[in-house]
């Protein structure tokens, strides 16, 4: 079972984060890292964006668990893009033996209506399917060692995970209540860890803090903070402050540039401006890192990889996570 000291029993890893922080990439890297050493991990997508297929460079995923990657040491990552309509039909079939009615519903475009009638039914179907995968047994053993969910962004995560409660409050009896109570029990248990992806910028860090507070307030287990796209310092640290405030010695720098055959006079100005940007960005990053530390959660940091993310970079990020203790 994939473990980390902070969440020894967790098998369901929910990955959220502000839009643009790279949560799909991080979820994929997390799944790869957890699959290393022969484990089976399911990576789930819930927003019908086919982001996983794009990351692993495969054709769009059907509503079916498909292998998308082999991890180091023989493990595998399977991926599932949950299709809400298909999940509803599956649910009707599983619990009510209503396959024929399901077809009629599909003809009528009824999912829109079903989900409209019960605000949140959509999320119940999604989380219900996730719970099913987490608890599924095959020949007496768990089907998956871990399930990693590329969840909705921080702005919607609390609603996504607690909507079972909304529905339970709405439908006071009925099977949907039993169903959503079951989902909630898994989400609240130590089997679950909710990880928040952030970059070292003000708004994402603020949203991370808000999400942690909201999740804790409703008793959902927060796992780690995963800092993504952390930039490396390119200037000697003792020169950062001077570069940020434009106090580097421009005369000496121009002379040195000329020494290596460059036009020091005309280059020094623009280069100092670029260095100033870099240094200010670095200082902003430091301040954000300090704020992340104040949140007192287990924190992992992933580097900002050059170029667009491809399958190769996923392995690089997975390695980085493994080295920092996620197994």
């Amino acid at each position: 079972m994939p473990t980390s000291p902070a969440w020894p029993a967790a098998r369901l890893h929910v990955v959220t984060g502000k839009g643009g922080t790279g949560k799909t990439t991080v979820a994929a890297a997390l799944a790869l890292s957890m699959a290393s050493g022969g484990r089976r991990v399911l990576l789930v997508e819930v927003e019908e964006r086919q982001g996983i297929a794009q990351l692993f460079d495969t054709p769009p995923l059907p509503y079916e668990e498909r292998r998308v990657a082999v991890a180091r040491g023989g493990g595998e990552v399977r991926a599932l893009a949950i299709d809400v309509e298909a999940a509803l039909l599956e649910y009707l079939e599983m619990f009510y033996n209503l396959k024929r009615a399901g077809r009629a519903l599909r003809r009528m475009g009824a999912v829109d209506f079903a989900t409209a009638i019960a605000p949140g039914l959509r999320d119940v179907l999604l989380t219900g399917k996730i719970k099913e995968a987490v608890t599924r047994q095959v020949k007496g053993a768990r089907a998956y060692d871990a399930v990693v969910v590329d969840a909705p962004p921080t702005g919607r995560i609390v609603r996504f995970l607690s909507v079972t409660e909304h529905v339970a409050g709405l439908a006071k009896g009925g099977p949907i209540k039993t169903q959503s109570d079951g989902v909630m029990a898994v989400l609240r248990s130590s089997q679950t860890a909710i990880h928040i992806v952030t970059v070292l910028e003000d708004m994402p860090v603020q949203e991370t803090a808000d999400a942690i507070a909201e999740l804790r307030a409703i008793g959902l287990p927060v796992g780690s903070i995963i800092v993504n796209m952390a930039r490396q310092p390119l200037l000697p640290l003792n020169a950062m402050a001077r570069a940020a405030s434009g106090r580097l010695d421009s005369t000496a720098i121009a002379a040195t540039l000329s020494k290596v055959g460059l036009d020091g006079e005309s280059l020094v100005g623009p280069l100092l401006l670029e260095a100033g940007d870099h240094a200010q960005g670095w200082q902003g990053q430091l301040a954000c890192r300090a704020r992340v530390a104040e949140l007192k959660r287990l924190t992992y940091e992933l580097p900002d990889l050059p170029g667009p993310i491809d399958t190769g970079s996923l392995y690089e990020l997975a390695d980085s996570l493994t080295q920092s203790g996620i197994k």
């Binding site: 502000k18 839009g19 643009g20 964006r49 982001g51 794009q54 009707l92 009510y96 209503l98 009615a101 009629a104 519903l105 003809r107 009528m108 009824a110 829109d112 209506f113 989900t115 409209a116 009638i117 019960a118 605000p119 949140g120 959509r122 909705p152 702005g155 919607r156 609603r159 909304h166 409050g169 709405l170 439908a171 009925g174 099977p175 949907i176 910028e201 003000d202 708004m203 603020q206 390119l234 200037l235 000697p236 020169a239 580097l248 010695d249 040195t256 540039l257 290596v260 460059l262 280059l267 623009p270 280069l271 100092l272 670029e274 260095a275 100033g276 200010q280 960005g281 050059p306 667009p308």
Partner: protein, 420 residues
């Protein structure tokens, strides 16, 4: 997707044009906001691309240019509200005192608000029903869930609010920041879905079993719908259906209103006074989303102003290539000044590579959408949280269009002719 399209385009092009690099026409936002005919600007795009900041910066710039502006944000970072000099924003447009000084000279004015979707929904109910009936609706558990958590309520209410703001005629320019949806298209689709549902026969039929019954019901709704109703009852339980039924009963007077209102606002968006502004970061995902949106707008014949390519990293000395900068850095690194200079050169090299990658993405967008004007906005070194930083972005947005890279210069045409 865009790759495939660009291939087919370049295949059609003449051999001499096939080698020309695709560039987008420049987006002249100063002209857009100065044009009194522009009444609504809608900023769309994927989450995390800086839509809210762009909306606010553009609103400030427009007010400074003399317009009476209101900017409706959906979920602004607290610091952005603070940067506008406001403790918090709510559902009512408020003056932005810090902007008053800046806009005084031109006679412009800036107000800001943040959409409260539940409040907006409640107000519609209150405006269209008798007080007693309104209370009945507002207290209904189904309504409460619908107005606060239905996927699409936010988009629907954003559009409703836009319609309301427009109706008052108090502002001559309304700038709308769109909700952080699953997809940017939701802003256009969700209101229709929702109003169709609220006004549709389906919701009435679902509540019908509570009123009519048995055969009469079957006769009215047909067997398919009857099955549907039974399934819904089975899954959701009787209580919910009862709530729905009461809700629909109380709402009876408002039927027709929802769809009409949504349609009216939707039509407003198609008029020439509206300008859609698609915001994207120079990243594959954000640009893919922007591409979808641009295609959709043209299908729906909605007026697209152009694309704001937000947070690009252009270099001020593009003449010094990444390779040369790095080569020079390798020849340094002995004394302390040398170490710093080598670092400066490496920072420059990294910036050049980032710039090259961003330009590649921009070219890809340009070849898929050759007619869409684009405005790049350089990344700020630090987070934006005051009016000065907002103004700086506004300056980039509205800077005069320079004919830096004309698409077809006579010289280039002349030189390419012999090879054709």
């Amino acid at each position: 997707m865009s790759g495939a399209r660009s291939v087919s385009r370049s295949a059609k092009a003449s051999p001499s044009r096939a080698r020309t690099v695709a560039t987008s026409p420049a987006l002249d936002l100063a002209a857009v906001i100065a044009d009194p005919g522009t009444r609504i600007i809608v900023c769309c795009g994927a989450g995390g691309v800086g839509k809210t900041t762009i909306s606010a910066a553009l609103a400030l710039a427009a007010a400074e240019a003399g317009r009476q502006v209101v900017v409706m944000t959906i979920d602004p970072a607290r610091r952005l509200a603070q940067s506008l000099g406001l403790k918090h924003l709510d559902n009512t447009p408020r003056d932005v005192p810090a902007a008053a000084e800046l806009t005084a000279a031109s006679g412009g004015h800036l107000q800001a608000m943040m959409l409260d979707m539940k409040r907006t929904f409640d107000e519609i109910v209150e405006a269209h029903s008798e007080p007693a009936r309104a209370r009945q609706i507002l207290e209904n558990p189904f309504y409460q869930a619908l107005s606060s958590s239905f996927a699409g309520t936010q988009e629907y209410m954003a559009m409703e609010k836009l319609g309301q703001l427009r109706e008052t005629g108090k502002w001559d320019l309304i700038i709308v920041d769109t909700p952080p949806s699953r997809s940017a298209l939701d802003f256009l689709d969700a209101p229709h879905r929702m109003s169709r549902f609220l006004d549709g026969t389906m919701i009435r039929l679902l509540s019908a079993p509570a009123r009519a019954g048995g055969r009469a019901y079957l006769k009215v709704v047909g067997a398919g719908l009857a099955i549907f109703g039974r399934i819904i009852a089975k899954i959701l339980g009787g209580q919910l259906l009862k709530d729905v039924s009461h809700f629909v009963g109380a709402l009876d007077t408002m039927f027709g209103g929802f769809r009409q209102r949504a349609q009216a606002t939707y039509d407003l968006l198609r008029q020439p006074g509206t300008a859609f502004l698609v915001v994207a970061a120079p990243e594959p995902d954000a640009l893919r989303e922007a591409s979808y949106f641009v295609d959709r707008l043209s299908t729906d014949q909605m007026p697209l102003a152009g694309l704001v390519l937000n947070r690009v990293h252009p270099s001020t000395v593009p003449a010094l290539s990444a390779g040369r900068a790095e080569g020079a850095a390798e020849n340094l690194a002995s004394s302390r000044t040398d170490v710093v200079v080598a670092s400066l050169l490496r920072i420059h090299a990294e910036r050049m590579r980032t710039d090259a990658q961003e330009q590649r993405l921009a070219r890809r967008f340009a070849s898929a959408h050759p007619d869409v004007p684009v405005r790049p906005v350089p990344a700020a070194a630090q987070d934006v949280h005051d009016l000065t930083a907002l103004r700086e972005i506004g300056d980039h947005l509205t800077a005069p269009v320079t004919a830096r890279r004309p698409r077809k210069t006579p010289a280039r045409r002349a030189s390419s002719r012999p090879t054709a």
